[in-house]
Symmetry: C2
Subunit: 369 residues, 2 copies
């Protein structure tokens, strides 16, 4: 019988589009003995995770929970619960995750209207307004931080437009939450989800989700059952609410981790955390430009959390990544879709966003290029 | 601003229906630094997890993967991928999880035929045959080990009957895998799923799933897209297969944990592990009967992994559980559904199945009753 060695993972410096590095305190939290999912101690911890999630989402939304899957499960929870067959959804498609939203919406019987922008560009408020004038819709779905391109879609004015046209605003904040400002209440976002493994620096496995009052009303008014049992928000609401009606067994250890990761965010403070992400991103950008490299997204819409860099002519981008990993234990990523083979994606998220990581990466890239 | 204390979980002795206690080696595996989900080291680890899952499922099925959600996500993956709208599914309903299968199947447009048995009884082969004769079906879904009742449905002869009637056999082995024999290939099961937090003694968060050749053919022959993006097995097949096509970010740390939990199963050996579960269950049963307590499921169909005990007349079952938890740090569970307020559920699964736990529980219950 084949035998398997002790786990012996190398210490990687994770500077890709996620997962980011996990703070040692979060790793230690995961080593705690398990609690039952109905244990009063765990139910208390669930409440704390919800409170801390509200803090990082900057919201008072009661229905703020971690979905028991990765960020894609949060995306699917939002889509599946908002749409009933035949509903129209306008999706901003300026990268890979906009495409994914379209795929999911189609599976739930949505009529999908694509608001397309070239990869690397943001979706702008005037474009959303024009799309709504052309096609009335029930939902507008936008990816605030496109992980595939590094472009930031400005969200502050979107809700006013969307609500004036009688629609609801769904926001993907997977690569923004905890790294740049995400203001659910001030921006009046109706539903938003993120992932744990980006700027929150917790291992992947949960998807922080927040649901505003308009969507809670919609859930009560739905004519059909949500076409997804695991992600049915009404059932999840009863599980995470005061009733604690059994639904599924929450990933307990992952909730230990998320609680600790969110405590770290709270201890640092949101403004200080955003300033740290910005400062290290600027250090990276300056260094890359000093090397003559071209950053794909214009500065105005460039995400501090994820930078896309054009691979210079004649350079094999995959080979550079391979050597970064093998020689320096540094992980960065290649492009997806339209950027495949043409770009690098460098993430500076959460615990990965440290000056020493930026300096090391720049120094290593100089040697390799 | 409210502050949150260091995580400080009590050391519970988990003798409920899951989660079970986690071996210290599994907890330590989770404290390893994170890898990227496309890191060659992680991809190698994914292969090992698949191999070890095949070992515990006793199968050669290539498509054997952990679904990135809890056991309910595995259940939904099986249902969503097998059914297209209008398909007939016969579901054995002899407890809570059979009910859940019906709910899920309805959401995917399935015509649900309920094969009902009283709670606490198994579903028998002759009953499955009679149901198929009465209503031809595409799928028969059976819960091998009903976590809500402690009844074992014998699976060895089911596939021959189901296949003879042109149907496929879906098996829930959440509370059996790793605790009692689960022989996917010998029993010719078409699709089966489990949870990590039962007899595998790994924290909840993944659902081991195995897919046989008939279901792989069905996936290729489907007319409609699977009405669930996150759990689309064809996409997951490409992610876990040699292509490694990006789908979602696997819960990396949970995969570290599952690998270690499965290594522990392999080191112990399946037969030794099953014998341990049986021996400790018999010790528990004898002790409970010596106390004059009545076990609900007849011995022939009684699960060694989960025992339901009738609460005696005049005893407040919830109060006994509360005192077990508060005075002894022991968790057992109450009844669900038909057994609510009337029964205790005592699990002896994985690392929880130890002689000292049985002795302590019996001793504590004697004092409390």
């Amino acid at each position: 019988m084949k035998t398997y060695a002790d786990l012996n993972t190398p210490e990687r410096i994770l500077l890709g589009p996620g997962p980011s590095m996990v703070h040692p305190r979060v790793l230690r939290a995961m080593a705690h003995p398990l609690l039952g999912h109905l244990d009063p101690e765990f139910i208390h911890l669930m409440k704390e995770v919800q409170e801390l999630q509200r803090f990082v989402f900057q919201t008072e939304n009661e229905m703020t929970i971690p979905v028991s899957g990765t960020g894609s499960a949060g995306m699917e929870a939002a889509v599946a619960n908002l749409l009933e067959p035949g509903d129209t959804i306008i999706v901003g498609v300026n990268g890979y995750f906009g495409e994914r939203l379209c795929d999911m919406a189609g599976r739930y019987g949505g009529k999908v209207v694509r608001l397309e922008k070239p990869w690397g560009q943001p979706v702008l408020p005037a474009e959303v307004e024009a799309a709504l004038k052309a096609t009335p819709a029930k939902v507008v779905a936008l990816v605030m931080a496109e992980t595939s391109t590094g472009a930031l879609t400005p969200m502050g004015e979107m809700a006013e437009i969307v609500h004036r046209h009688g629609a609801l605003l769904l926001m993907d904040c997977v690569t923004s939450l905890g790294g740049i400002p995400v203001k659910i209440d001030e921006w009046d976002i109706d539903i938003a989800y993120s992932g744990t493994q980006k700027c929150l620096s917790c291992p992947p496995g949960l998807s922080p989700l927040t649901v505003g009052p308009r969507v809670r009303q919609l859930l009560r008014d739905r004519k059909s059952k949500v076409a997804n049992w695991y992600l049915d928000l009404t059932m999840l609401e009863h599980y995470w609410g005061d009733e604690r009606t059994y639904h599924h067994t929450a990933p307990i250890t992952m909730n230990f981790a998320l609680r600790e990761a969110l405590r770290l965010v709270q201890e640092e403070g949101l403004e200080a955390r955003f300033a740290r992400h910005k400062a290290h991103a600027e250090l990276l950008w300056d260094g890359l430009e000093d090397m003559g490299l071209q950053l794909i997204v214009p500065r105005e819409y460039r995400l501090p959390t994820l930078t896309t860099v054009a691979a210079p002519e004649g350079v094999n981008e995959a080979d550079v990544r391979k050597r970064l990993l093998e020689q320096y234990n540094i992980e960065i990523a290649g492009g997806l879709g339209a950027f495949k083979g043409k770009a690098w994606r460098i993430g500076l998220m959460g615990y990965s966003s440290r000056k020493e990581n930026v300096e090391l990466l720049l120094s290593a890239m100089k040697k390799l290029l």
